[in-house]
Amino acid sequence: MSNFLLEMKNISKSFPGVKALQGVNFQLLPGEIHALLGENGAGKSTLIKVLGGIYIAEEGEIYIDGKQVAINSVNAARENGISIIHQELVQVPHMTVAENIFLGREYMGKFGVDTRRMIAESQKMLDRFDLGIDAASEIYDLSIAQQQMVEIVKAISFNCRILVMDEPTSSISDREVEQLFEIMRNLAKQGVGIIYISHKMSELNEVCDRVTVLRDGTYVGTRVVADTPREDLIAMMVGRELDQYYTRDHVKNTPVFFKAEHIDDGKKHHKRVNDVTFEVRQGEIVGFAGLVGAGRSETMQCIFGLTRGSKGTVTLDGKKLNIRNAVDAMKYGISLVPENRKVEGLYHVQSVAFNSTIEVLHEFIRNLMVNSKREHEITQEFIDKMNTKTPSHEQAVTNLSGGNQQKVMIGRWLATNPKILILDEPTRGVDVGAKAEIYEIMNELTKQGVSIIMISSELPEIINMADRVYVMCDGRITGCIDYEDVSQEAIMHLATLESADSARDNTAH
């Protein structure tokens, strides 16, 4: 029985000191959307890189249409109809959509590159999916989601039959995700086999037919998505039953501790924060929901003193604060763990110790003396507190998994002893096991009197963790919902309110 489009058998690959893959099997049917699931470090990307010809496996065979093939280079993969859309998009920002699609195989006319023909051809392909993207526009001007669509179109233009998508939805809004899924279903209907990597369990049911789970470089099993409860999949990934995914002891009507009033980014054009007022009560987790670009992160950056020219008043414990920059904010006990740890958070080449202590250097560097002992005490304290897994303090932080990187980040800002902890997308790109741990730590922190502001685009996270949810749309707060009344529909309703005037009537409080 070999009607498989792709079959990978017994794939093994090791790196110095690590067995990244051990006898992994994977089978893909034509016209199937097949999820590849596993925690960070489970071997998903290694398997994909073997398929894409970036790594060569030491053992194992790959069959396409039942015939054994040797994929020993990126070109060999392409010739076999395999296309991979990487998580980090690899496009040339200042070239047009058409030029990107035809990069490296441009049409030549009499007078050099035939730009007109490339644009026409690209436009035809884009229109086939009804994308509303102009082939002559520059990549630079497109949204992340649109760039992703262009990548897909590019892949298809190579006549690809096996399409791999590595976390394509990690940075695009819900509406765009829907459009992406539509395209995926469309492609599957035409017989393309799609391998789909994502951390978002909720997406599996929506778009995937089957799922293969990897753990620690080994094959755990393949299931039909519709017949498999989510808990089973999580157990397969983690290797144990997670007794509780979300940990939250809700609080209600504790005294108001923190107030932000009339926060405004002071910008005339492209205003992202417009007269935002909210409060945080003692020991609360306050959620901030909204679509991407609603101004949630920008609001927090204004409060944290990162936006020059921003206005508004901030009150902590009854005292009005004068925050001119991030140092002031931290002095008052406000910490902000930014959204995008790669860009805004990590010092990649530096060690875990460096990354853990950069906010609290004054505790161990004084008068030309470095107290290394103290530095390592602090580092260890937050490794323990966050349950971070790292081989040593000296390990470069870039070598840790996403979950552990996030823990280092949160630990770094906890070291400043915050009273208000602002977490911007605290579990993005973090695997389920570490997610559950982060939730538990958040709950624990609030019991110790820390109040948490959590921005999140993952509705289940907001719904289960927050005591109150503020929803933002277009730079304004459009409503606030208590945890008893919160639902996906209620949030989405407020998140898509167009006019702020009608919003006032909808405010639940």
Partner: protein, 318 residues
């Protein structure tokens, strides 16, 4: 003890390269008798001293993720201004020296100010100031060397203290100060942070503008100091001195293992890088290699040293 061990381990590649060079020059018949004499060793150190000064500043600039192309021209400018102050305006030598150093600092400050306050890349900013400094040197001196032969003037570059050349003492002091500054102050750590991830540094509440300002000013100070040292050694302020000095400094830093992409690097490596380039120059001279060929050999050695280090790190990284 462990620190010393670690230092050797971290810099194994270039220490080995240095050892091979020294050994080679020691057993090579034409250089055997001269190379390891006290005179020649002091010679190497004296010639390397200004490069080490520049390289100390350059290491910080490169860790910060920048580059400073202006230091070579600042050498010419500060030398000319210092000599002119003494010879043409009859000021005491010490004032001339201070003027020279100060002119370097001022250029560094200006570099730092523009780089900190605007988005213009350091490459462009220092390319511009490189030309401006050079221009000032030519305009002020009229293109001719300004000769200054007094003992007080010669002391800094050509003098001795207890048998040790003054520039060797200067470079030792400068190096120690730089090491303390980079490794034992908060702003030293902040240099690594800004170079490693500028945006993250802002979110960490680090005043990135201040860090850039301080680092480029320090580099300017080093260039001013190197400028007056050279002018003193040559007994004159000359507008062609320091030509290409920025490239020697960059080469030493890179050979020393500092990454051009910023965020990592050590002054200890830079020290060895400076010695490698110094000994290479000296050795090739002793061997009687034609100076035209020296460029080619120097280029090849730089590439080889960086490449071996790259290979070693890649192995470690995987």
């Amino acid at each position: 003890m462990t620190k010393v061990k670690r230092y050797f381990k971290d810099n194994l590649g270039i220490i080995a390269a240095l050892a091979v060079m020294i050994l080679f020059l020691y057993i090579f018949p034409r250089t055997h008798s001269t190379f390891l004499t006290k005179t020649n060793i002091f010679n190497v150190l004296r010639q390397s001293s200004t490069n080490l000064m520049l390289a100390c500043g350059m290491t910080m600039v490169i860790i910060l993720g920048g580059i400073d192309l202006s230091v070579g021209s600042i050498i010419a400018m500060s030398g000319v201004l210092g000599a002119a102050a003494v010879v043409w305006h009859g000021m005491p030598e010490i004032v001339g020296i201070l003027i020279a150093v100060l002119s370097g600092v001022i250029f560094g400050l200006l570099n730092g100010l523009v780089i900190a306050k605007t988005q213009i890349p350091p490459f462009i900013v220092t390319l511009a100031s490189m030309n401006i400094a050079k221009g000032i040197a030519y305009v002020y001196s009229g293109g001719k060397p300004i000769r200054c032969m007094t003992d007080a003037w010669k002391f800094l570059g050509a003098g001795n203290v207890a048998g040790v050349p003054t520039p060797v003492i200067t470079m030792t002091v400068v190096f120690i100060v730089a090491v303390l500054f980079l490794n034992r102050t908060r702003i030293g750590r902040h240099i690594y942070a800004v170079g490693g991830n500028d945006t993250a540094a802002k979110f960490s509440g680090i005043d990135t503008a201040k860090v850039k300002f301080v680092v480029f000013s320090f580099s300017g100070l080093m260039a001013g100091l190197a400028g007056i040292t050279i002018a003193s050694r040559l007994y004159s302020g000359t507008c062609t001195s320091g030509d290409g000095a920025e490239m020697d400094a960059i080469a030493a830093v890179v050979v020393g293992g500092t990454s051009m992409s910023g965020g990592s690097g050590k002054l200890g490596g830079t020290l060895i890088g400076v010695l490698i380039i110094g000994i290479l120059n000296n050795g090739l001279n002793l061997m009687g290699v034609n100076s035209d060929w020296q460029y080619i050999i120097k280029g090849a050695v730089i590439l080889l040293a960086v490449y071996t280090d790259f290979l070693r790190n890649r192995k470690k990284g995987a």
